[in-house]
Amino acid sequence: MATYTPHQDYHPKTSRREHREWLLFVLFIGPNLFLFSVFTYWPLLYNAYLSMVRWDFLRPAMPFVGLQNYISAFSDPQFWNIIWQTATFTVWSVGLTLIIGLMLALLLNQPLQFRNTARAVVFAPVVISGAVVAVVWSYIFDPRYGLIDQLLGFFGLDSPNWLIDSFWAMPAVIIVYVWKNIGYAVVIYLAGLQNIPRELYDAARVDGAGAWDRFWHVTLPGLSPVAFFLSVTSILTCFQSFDIIRVLTNGGPASATTTLVFHLYELGFVSYDAGKAGVVAIVLFLIMLALTMIQIRYVERQVTYG
């Protein structure tokens, strides 16, 4: 805020104008800032406090334990296991969404018959509730009568016991997550594809570039801002995804699909340990903050803006 200094007193006109601009700024920003403070910043600070107490949501006493919750979380091998599982889930989900999404977008960008229908079909899962999707897929994954079992049956293969097998449960969650979210990536890619100027392709063709070269030297660089945007939003949403895991596997079997967000839910609302849940929330927050900074710093540099 502008404060009156002797120096400013020499320029009363400028000062009044600055003052008014500041007031206007505060008027515009104020309501939002206030809402953010109440519903975002205050919970964030309160959570930081909760991470340093022992509390079960019921007892009136909230003894302060300092960093003890952090120490017990970080010394628990299960915690690191969950970080690793979260990373696995995120890398595979985002990677597959970006790659398969690109392939689908390229396909749906071709002048095919029923193209619009195909686009609608690909996008449909995005607007279906995650809980519903998870219920449907739990039937598809059933090793005895599920659709996947039937499909594998054509090749004489047995379906793994997807949701009860610690190895297969994570791939199952990733498959559902990618299926559910790929439509969004496809739509964004399609918009990106349509923004690449035709002339670049024409010029490339004149220079004798084949389909592969045109893809590699025109399409891909042209799509890089879109891919950057998608990678940021996908990683952030992936880190926070909860519904599919909750309904499909409930974090199991034997915690094999427990991610940080699910762990946070379990600690907070199953074990009623506000302190440890607070620690996980802080860790999640810091990871997201760090990821966002890295992405903005390093990825943005290599992006070609069309």
């Binding site: 206007l24 008027l27 515009f28 104020g30 309501p31 939002n32 206030f34 809402l35 109440v38 519903f39 022992r54 079960d56 949501f57 019921l58 007892r59 739990s138 005895r144 009568y145 047995d158 016991n161 949701l163 009860i164 097998d165 610690s166 409930n250 199991g252 079997p253 034997a254 915690s255 094999a256 609302f269 199953v270 074990s271 009623y272």
Partner: protein, 450 residues
């Protein structure tokens, strides 16, 4: 004359709008329960003489159980003019407890609530549920007629807090068609050793059918395993909260559970046990007697039930849910809540509930009513749980008194069964976690009961 809005007025409006939105947002969490919020600070009598007392009941049943629960509420509301119960479904036992915990923070509590065996105790320690003896006297409720095994679980220091309602025991369920096809006697196995001899005839070698199914942790494997641990001569914990997960007999039971799936491969773990049983993917299972009515009505084959198999001992826990009155409710609503509890667990209605669900009649006198005698004659399966009841006992503290103890043990069992990890290592970790979880409970117990 028309006047255009000035910038300043526009901003003022925006401020006002922002403020209103904020107020609305602040109001929403408490909005639904504002009536209750006021009620908790209001004097004891909130209604005019002659008007109905309205109370809220939070329950946890869906499907045919939910229908039976709602029918009970409806018949109560139609039976008298003083109290009107509004039934609100809250999800599973766990979700109901979660919402009640949140409601206690937000001051939006119901008046009467269904709490499962593993949840009522925590709310008792927190002082969130009422002592019921005075209320019972006022509605002439006779505790002496309740099944003592079930009633006494909800008693602390001679005071009643948790009245049995949907109480169960596990039963051994089997598919009679598969049994007949395998040439087995039409009964549940008497011992696990006997069952081990039967299993080769029940399993299909192509993997399409297992002899037996285990539920996962979320579906309370730790409840069923409680009985098995006792059968093997072990236990989860001692009454003084000493954890005994690494007791050799407890570990022997865990090894047995692991072998059924990993080594001998005649059992599977399932995310949807009832469905697998109904679909013939498993030939038998242990499950709550509360599932009996639902399973019998959906099954396309005759369903058999029996006592749990023995090992060195017989062992079978009680389970299920009971009703409690919320201590924050004003006296008048607490009394109304008690009237509902008395109605729902009356001699006649305990029978209605038992016949429509499979849960056990919680009143001794219910068993002698002509309707019940007739029903048991025609549906002997429903009588099995009642016959088994005298041999059951209350569960170990580790599962029902340690917060989340059920899920801690359940997850351990998942690691043992699904991952094939060594029972000794897993249960050592579970033992530590339970012991840690017991600490605050012991402190609270000391504060509450001295």
């Amino acid at each position: 004359m028309k006047r255009t809005l000035t910038r300043r007025e526009m901003l003022r409006l925006m401020m006002a709008g922002g403020g209103a939105a904020l107020l609305a947002a602040c109001g929403s969490p408490a909005g639904q329960g504002s009536q209750e919020t006021q009620a908790t600070t209001a004097p004891a009598v909130v209604s005019q003489p002659g008007s109905k007392v309205k109370i809220t009941y939070w329950g946890s049943f869906s499907g045919n159980l939910g229908e039976a629960e709602q029918a009970m509420v409806k018949s109560f509301n139609e039976s008298q003019n003083e109290v009107e119960v509004e039934y609100q479904f809250q999800g599973s036992y766990e979700e109901t407890a979660q919402k009640f915990t949140a409601a206690l923070q937000a001051n939006t509590t119901p008046d009467v609530i269904l709490l499962s065996d593993v949840w009522w105790f925590g709310f008792y320690l927190a002082g969130a549920i009422s002592a019921l003896d005075d209320l019972a006297k006022q509605v002439n409720l006779d505790f002496a007629d309740y099944e003592p095994v079930l009633l006494n679980e909800g008693v602390r220091k001679g005071v009643h807090y948790w009245i049995p309602f949907a109480r169960s025991t596990p039963l051994f369920y089997y598919n009679k068609d598969i049994w007949a096809e395998a040439g087995l006697p039409d009964r549940a196995p008497e011992t696990w050793a006997e069952f081990s001899e039967w299993v080769p005839k029940l399993v299909k070698s192509d993997g399409s059918r297992a002899a037996f199914g285990h539920p996962n942790g979320a579906s309370y494997i730790a409840w069923l395993f409680q009985g098995v641990v006792w059968q093997f001569g072990g236990q989860y914990s001692l009454p003084d909260f000493t954890m005994t997960m690494t007791d050799p007999n407890t570990l022997r039971a865990a090894q047995f559970y692991q072998d059924t799936v990993v080594k001998d491969k005649w059992a599977v773990m399932s995310n949807n046990l009832n469905q697998d049983f109904l679909g013939g993917a498993i030939a038998s299972m242990m499950a709550s007697t509360g599932a009996l009515a639902g399973i019998q009505s959906s099954a396309t084959f005759p369903v058999g039930v029996g006592f749990l198999p023995r090992e060195t001992n017989f062992g079978c826990p009680t389970g299920g849910a009971g009703l409690a009155v919320v201590s924050r409710s004003p006296a008048e609503k607490q009394l109304a809540a008690m009237k509902y509890i008395a109605f729902a667990t009356s001699t006649v209605n305990a029978g209605v509930w038992a016949r429509s669900t499979g849960y056990m009649p919680v009143r001794i006198s219910t068993k002698q009513t002509p309707e019940m005698v007739e029903f048991f004659n025609q549906n002997p399966n429903f009588k099995t749980a009642v016959d088994q009841l005298p041999q059951t006992r209350a569960q170990d503290a580790a599962r029902v008194f340690v917060r989340n103890g059920d899920q801690i043990i359940g997850k351990g069992l998942e690691r043992i069964i699904v991952n094939g990890e060594a029972p000794s290592a897993v249960f050592a970790a579970v033992n530590d976690e339970l012991a840690q979880g017991a600490q605050p409970i012991l402190e609270d117990l000391k504060a509450r009961e001295g």
